[in-house]
């Protein structure tokens, strides 16, 4: 029963985790906009999601005691690729402020979309369970 609830929310939860991973990578690109020889990085979101959706948890549960049962193995972290610059700069830096900011804004919007889907699914489940005062 609880597993079915988990599975209903799992896909969007995975998408949300990957979105936050990507925002971290893009924030790193923006932070290093003035660092000589820094190469901008990113990952293919669609591919990473397809890879993660199959074998669930993105992070392995830590086992702090020998008697703990091992949890399912974590999916591999998304493969970080290098961005091909449109206009190369003299100091070897491949961060293009406009491209990175556009990607960051796009990623933020999609993160909010995932949040909204997740909220909708939770509300649907609440209604199905007949929670008092919820989703009536």
């Amino acid at each position: 029963m609880l597993d079915a609830l988990n599975r209903a929310l799992d896909f969007q939860a995975t998408a949300l985790t990957l979105r936050s991973e990507r925002s971290r990578v893009l924030a790193g690109n923006l932070a290093n906009a003035d660092t000589p020889n820094f190469k901008a990085r990113d990952f293919d979101f669609g591919q990473a999601l397809a890879q993660a959706a199959g074998n669930a948890p993105l992070r392995a549960a830590a086992r702090t005691h020998a008697a703990h049962l091992p949890a399912a193995p974590a999916a591999a972290a998304p493969t970080l690729l290098y961005r091909a610059p449109l206009q190369s700069s003299l100091d070897g830096n491949t961060v293009e402020m406009d491209v990175e900011r556009a990607r960051f804004a796009d990623n933020t919007l999609r993160y909010e979309a995932s949040l909204r889907f997740l909220n909708g699914q939770i509300r649907t489940l609440m209604t199905a369970m007949g929670a008092a005062g919820q989703g009536q």
Binding site: S20, E21, S23, R24, A31, N32, D34, L80
Partner: protein, 135 residues
């Protein structure tokens, strides 16, 4: 929650860019100075940025100021015979700071700083919305 790392990454950029602004301020303040306490003219300083990995996987690259280097270009010499610091030929040795370069440096630093602040604000509002999940 990996989103919290965004704060460390953007925070490191804020620290590095503000140090760059500090150096620019020091250069501009000394653009017209003739000699420091050691009797030598002021030399312009520049920060050197370096990537600082905040996790083992390399997906959270912060930035730090690796070192502050002195500009070794020749000092500016101005003919001012009445100046107390003038040499026997009437030339005064000034600092080697180029105010135009420093102004450009300042604008670049301030834009980068603003970007990092916006990244932080975005991450903050996303986290606040995530906290309200299911409410």
């Amino acid at each position: 929650m990996s989103m919290f790392k965004v704060f460390s990454v953007a925070g490191s950029a804020l620290a590095a860019q503000s140090q760059r602004l500090n150096v620019v301020a020091s250069n501009l303040a000394n653009a017209e100075s003739v000699a420091g306490p050691d009797g030598k003219p002021y030399k312009g300083r520049q920060v050197v940025f370096q990537t600082q990995l905040l996790d083992a996987a390399g997906s959270a690259p912060g930035v730090r100021v690796a070192q502050v280097v002195e500009d070794d270009s020749p000092a500016r010499r101005v003919h001012q015979p009445a100046h107390p610091a003038a040499d026997e030929n009437g030339f005064v040795t000034m600092s080697n700071v180029n105010p135009v370069e420093e102004m450009v440096n300042m604008i670049s630093a301030s834009r980068s700083y603003q970007t990092s602040v916006e990244v932080m604000n975005t991450a903050k509002s996303l986290l606040a919305k995530t906290l309200q999940l299911g409410a």
